[in-house]
């Protein structure tokens, strides 16, 4: 849970084990003060989110380009390993997931955190509100706003790709017609 949440929130696999170590050390130090008012998982999520936010601020300061986690999951060798009838669909799905990750990193910290906790970690509104210390209504607003931004971003990219494909097809057809005219 900790590793996958950190990867999604920071958008990078760099230093994830260091960050996860920091999470568990903070949990250990905070345990004597834990009175059981909330679930231990809520406590752990809160610490994970704080560590991720600190890392995100550090990344912004360092102005590093984030490494796409989709690239690290499967290299070209994996993509070519099992060619089959669904290979094109699989590649398209992988590219879509990569675009989703890129759009996720475009969101604000809070929107990204809410989306990850809700969809990936399957937390309820109440649990997310408790982790982030905000009202449930605010959580809902961030969730819907974040999803809408991502959807609009993805559709805009899709439209751009389709337009580029159409332009390329037109140019190819024009070249073929010129070649056919030249051979007459």
């Amino acid at each position: 849970m900790v590793f996958s949440t950190l990867v999604r929130l920071t958008g990078s696999r760099e230093h994830v084990d260091d960050l996860a170590q920091e999470v568990f050390l903070r949990l250990y130090r905070a345990l004597p003060g834990f009175r059981g008012e909330a679930l231990l998982s809520t406590y752990l999520y809160r610490i994970t989110v704080n560590v991720a936010q600190n890392e995100w601020k550090r990344q912004r300061r360092d102005v590093r380009s984030t490494v796409s986690i989709s690239d690290e999951v499967s290299g070209w060798e994996d993509r070519l390993e099992h060619p089959g009838p669904n290979a094109e669909e699989q590649m398209e799905e992988r590219e879509f997931k990569q675009e989703v990750e890129e759009q996720l990193q475009q969101l604000s910290q809070v929107e990204r955190t809410v989306l990850v906790l809700y969809h990936q970690e399957e937390r309820t509104y109440e649990q997310i509100a408790e982790v982030l210390g905000m009202p449930i209504g605010t959580v809902r607003t961030h969730l819907h706003r974040g999803r809408k931004k991502m959807r609009d971003g993805l559709m805009a990219r899709q439209a751009t790709v389709e337009q580029a494909t159409a332009t390329q097809a037109t140019a190819t057809q024009a070249a073929e017609r010129r070649a056919a005219w030249a051979t007459r």
């Binding site: 990867v7 170590q21 250990y28 996720l104 990936q120 399957e122 999803r147 959807r151």
Partner: protein, 112 residues
Amino acid sequence: MGDEMTAEERALVEMDARLVRALEARPAVEIPAGFAARVAGQLPERRSVSLTPTYYGRNVMVACMVVLGVALLGLALDRTGGTTLGVALEWFVCAQFVALAMWLGVWRRGLR
């Protein structure tokens, strides 16, 4: 016009569904071997706890019983203790002695 709106809505719904599926898919992560040991190595050392019982309370109680026993003996041997105050003091010391003896008996039973 109606068909365009329906097609657009369909595209939005499909995009939403795809987006949610992609968000729900967890990134594949590999926890490095020895991670638990690495975290444990960073934890502060715990102070060792002494397991030898000290019985300070019991020893003080026994000492008090001895003192009270000596006082009772002294009061009993004192022939001039026939006054009301003397009798009251005897009963008071006796009651304390008995209370301590009962407490010690309960404490021993609790140890078993």
